[in-house]
């Protein structure tokens, strides 16, 4: 029984450990295929593409920690995108844009509050509730903008694309703020409540944790983060499309799980999921740089994801066999 290297301890105490390995691995492969990856221009152009998914994943990660799931986030992204693209327009002023950015954030919070109301106060099951509201939101986005079009002023879009304070991409600052905010939040009473509710809601209730309020809040946070993601992706693309958020929902869930947040709730953090989101986006890059035949793309990507998900389990199995 003399084991200096304690794997279980490592995995449970530092949930970021495994996502970090995956991230380093995918960066290494990407660097091999794209030697100029660390050029500032390349980093910036990569990070601005990754940022919307990162923002969305952070919201999803918090919902997962709180023991829920939010499959309506893609719909919220689409609503925000269509609002900005139709109300601001290509020839709008920056003032108008910021005004609608504010409105978008409120819309996101409101959409999240609808989810939270049904799940926390009416006690419906999260997966089916957010599935139902995803139709509501995606339908509403399509109602606002039936055909792709519209847009935001080019100078506002460029602000997102080319701002590099201290020659570092904007995304780095956003990620830093997110992580600092998370470190603060998880040290507060609310942070403790969040993990308690996700771990076992009934037990948390017994110990006077305001379970309903916490459950409500995670969907509001998720809605807010989805609105931020919607704003980011609109500034990235510069145009409107009611289907823009569709594919992002499942990606945000996969990224959060690769990042070590479990479905059972009460486990994980935000740093891991951010790495998960970057890893997932890098995999997409790797596939396009590796010049894989288009027909093979879906299969290769899905296989990599399954292998990445299975790896911790496989390691555990081998370890237990030896012990």
């Amino acid at each position: 029984m003399k084991k200096r290297f304690n794997w279980d301890f490592l995995i449970t105490r530092y949930p970021v450990f495994f996502p970090l390995i995956l991230l380093v691995l995918s960066i290494a492969i990407n660097l091999f295929l794209q030697p100029n990856m660390f050029a500032l221009d390349t980093i910036n152009s990569n990070m601005r593409v990754f940022l919307p998914l990162i923002l969305l994943t952070v919201g999803q990660a918090i919902v997962l920690i709180g023991g829920g799931i939010d499959i309506s986030v893609g719909g919220i992204v689409s609503i925000v995108n269509t609002i900005l693209a139709t109300r601001v327009g290509l020839d709008g002023t920056p003032e108008l844009m910021w005004q609608y950015v504010l409105i978008s954030l409120l819309v996101g919070v409101f959409a999240g509050a609808i989810n939270g109301f049904f799940i926390a106060y009416l006690r419906l099951q999260p997966i089916i509730t957010t599935y139902a509201t995803s139709f509501l939101y995606a339908g509403f986005a399509l109602f606002i903008l039936p055909n792709p079009g519209g847009g935001i002023p080019a100078d506002v879009a460029n602000l997102y694309r080319t701002t590099t304070p201290l020659s570092l991409p904007l995304a780095f600052y956003v990620i830093a703020i997110l992580l600092l905010a998370w470190i603060y939040v998880s040290s507060t009473r609310y942070g403790k409540y969040l993990f308690a509710v996700g771990g076992k809601a009934e037990a948390a209730y017994e110990t006077a944790v305001p379970v309903t309020l916490v459950q409500f809040s995670i969907y509001v946070i998720s809605g807010f983060m989805a609105a931020l993601a919607g704003i980011a992706i609109t500034m990235l693309s510069g145009s409107g499309n009611a289907d823009i958020g569709n594919s992002m929902t499942l990606n945000s869930i996969t990224a959060a799980v690769i990042g070590g947040n479990a479905f059972s709730g009460g486990i994980g953090g935000v740093a891991g999921p951010v790495m998960g989101a970057v890893t997932l986006s890098l995999i997409q890059n790797i596939i396009s740089f590796a010049h894989i035949d288009t027909w093979w793309e879906t299969l290769v990507k899905a296989t990599i994801i399954v292998v990445a998900l299975a790896a911790p389990g496989v390691i555990n199995l081998i370890r237990r066999r030896r012990a």
Partner: protein
């Protein structure tokens, strides 16, 4: 005094009938013509068959608990539909083998899901989501976007056509009824069914009472895969053509059908009758919205709102305060 309760399957069925009767008032609906009304009702149930069969595996996996869900069902349906289509290529004598292939291929994919979920401890949601990607990817690689084949005449006759001249009920509905009875027997009258509910309620107590949790879980996912495979076989028999996106539109409705039918998404409680009723309700709502010629955006919103109302009525979990 005993509280008056309606079970979810009955509630869903009453709702379906009420909606259908109300739909008679729509401008381009059946009006006062009984024959047309019957034909329309039959048609809706016929369309519900495919959703219902695909949702059968989903029901099993969801009852098994521990966040059980099968997101690979849609891609398995597409895969077995394509396999059937290509293998049968219009010959009646190959149909039985094609059915066997569909079941085995589906079970194999389900088995892999089960391995990932049971042994590697991957959450069912992401495991089956990943598997769905792998299967879809494999379909794209193998057929390169175009397939040549043909459905056998006997499949069309048994699945899509009425059983006889005098009885205007399509074979699919008869198959579904038999299928429903078999599912009921499986869930309520076999050891496997009892074990399934047991592991759905609480895996630890189930294990302590002598249930082989690992095996039951593996069997559940394999069976769910096989049932999705059967769904693909039936579906291609009805449509007669295959598309790369044939099964995917059935995926989330299959989960919704299970939820509307009163099966707890947290596991341990549910029935296939409920899922059947849920499949009919969902198909009915979708086809009503199509009949009303609403734009796609309004249709999606109404579907979402209806689903929300339905689950608000009886999908609620117990209060925290016991």
């Amino acid at each position: 005094m005993k509280r008056f309760t309606i079970t979810p399957p009955v509630a869903a069925l009453i709702l379906a009938i009420a909606l259908f009767l109300l739909s008679g008032f729509l401008p381009n609906s059946y009006g006062s013509d009984i024959d047309v009304a019957m034909a329309q009702a039959t048609n809706i149930v016929r369309l519900a068959v495919f959703l219902g069969v695909i949702a059968a595996g989903q029901t099993l996996v969801i009852i098994s608990g521990s966040e059980g869900i099968d997101l690979s069902a849609g891609s398995v349906v597409t895969l077995t539909a394509i396999l059937t289509y290509v293998y049968v290529s219009g010959q009646d004598d190959k149909v039985l083998v094609a059915l066997l292939i569909s079941l085995v291929v589906g079970a194999l994919i389900g088995f892999l899901n089960g391995i990932g979920v049971t042994f590697l401890k991957i959450s069912p949601f992401v495991m089956t989501l990943g598997m769905s990607g792998v299967v879809t990817g494999a379909i794209i690689v193998v057929n390169h976007g175009n397939v040549s084949g043909k459905v056998a005449p006997i499949m069309t006759r048994l699945i899509a056509r009425p059983i006889s001249q005098s009885i205007p009920i399509p074979g699919a509905i008869v198959i579904w009824l038999i299928f429903g009875v078999l599912m009921w027997l499986l869930l309520e009258r076999t050891t496997f069914g009892k074990n399934l509910f047991a592991i759905g309620v609480n895996r630890i107590t189930a294990k302590l009472s002598g249930v082989n949790v690992t095996w039951t879980n593996l069997a559940t996912y394999s069976l769910a895969g096989a049932l999705a495979g059967f769904g693909g076989f039936l579906l291609v028999g009805n449509t007669g053509v295959v598309l790369i996106q044939l099964g995917q539109p059935y995926l989330f409705p299959s989960i919704a059908a299970v939820a509307v039918g009163g099966t707890l998404l947290s596991g341990g409680k549910g029935s296939y009758w409920g899922t059947m009723a849920g499949a009919i309700v969902l198909t009915l709502i979708t086809s009503l919205l199509t009949t009303m010629q609403m734009p796609d955006s309004v249709r999606r919103m109404v579907l979402g709102a209806t689903l929300l109302i339905l689950i608000s009525i009886y999908g609620r979990q117990g209060a925290l305060r016991q």
